[in-house]
Amino acid sequence: MIKRIHHIGIAVNNLKESAALFEKVLGVKAHIESVPCQKVTEAVFKIGSAAEIDLLEPMGTDSAVAKSLEKRGEGLHHIALEVDNINQELKTAEGKGIQLIDKEGREGAAGQIGFLHPRSLSGVMVELVQPRKK
């Protein structure tokens, strides 16, 4: 089941500069985190209990975010939906004819993650996230 929007991912060239702007707009400070498995440095903004905004700066040139920056420039990159069972949701999505990037959940910053192909979703890259139990 899809529970809520977990975060919105934004690809940026310069994390410091972008984080400074979003701190002004959102009125909260970012939490900076390295996510080597996805080859990004993130600035995470929590706004109340609602969805987060994650700014993503690539490490190196061969990550998904680096490629997106090269191709499309800075800007909104993906939306992440929180689910309670990632593998089941990926299977359900595939059964509905949605093309998957990840057939199975894999380890991400927030827990188990899997991406759906933008081609099947009106150009939107959708991430499913099953957060780690705290």
Partner: protein
């Protein structure tokens, strides 16, 4: 004060097709549809928790069609909810943030104003002060 992410705006070519896809994917039906009279932009909203997905389709020459021509279908803007949009705009202007709208203007769900994408690292940010219901 920014309270939450109010909605995520998504530019699409074919609203009917998109609504079908997202009804399937989200497992829920749209909560509202409307059309902005001037530019004839069609809007369909899906609610996902506290945040809506706002799908936008516009005729040739509209800002939405121009966006799709330049960047393709997909994520268009994020909107954050505030309880006092005029005060937020004043604060942002004082902090040196480049505003597209210096004053709030009427939007489909309340008062709105845009920041970016110029000067906002490629992201269009909308401020929304919803109408009291």
């Amino acid at each position: 004060m920014v309270k939450k992410i109010h909605h995520i705006g998504i530019a699409v070519k074919n609203m009917d097709e998109t609504v079908k896809l997202y009804t399937k994917m989200l497992g829920s039906k749209p909560v509202s549809t409307m059309e902005i009279p001037g530019p004839k932009i069609k809007i369909t909203n899906f609610q996902v928790g506290e945040t809506a997905l706002e799908f936008l389709e516009g005729p040739a020459g509209s800002s939405i069609a121009d966006f799709i021509a330049a960047k393709g279908e997909g994520l268009h803007h994020i909107a954050v909810e505030t309880d006092d949009i005029a005060a937020e705009l004043k604060k942002l202007a004082a902090a040196g943030v480049k505003l597209k709208d210096k004053e709030p203007r009427p939007g489909p769900e309340g008062k709105i104003a845009f920041v970016g994408p110029e000067g906002a690292h490629g992201v269009t940010i909308e401020l929304v002060q919803p109408e009291k219901k």
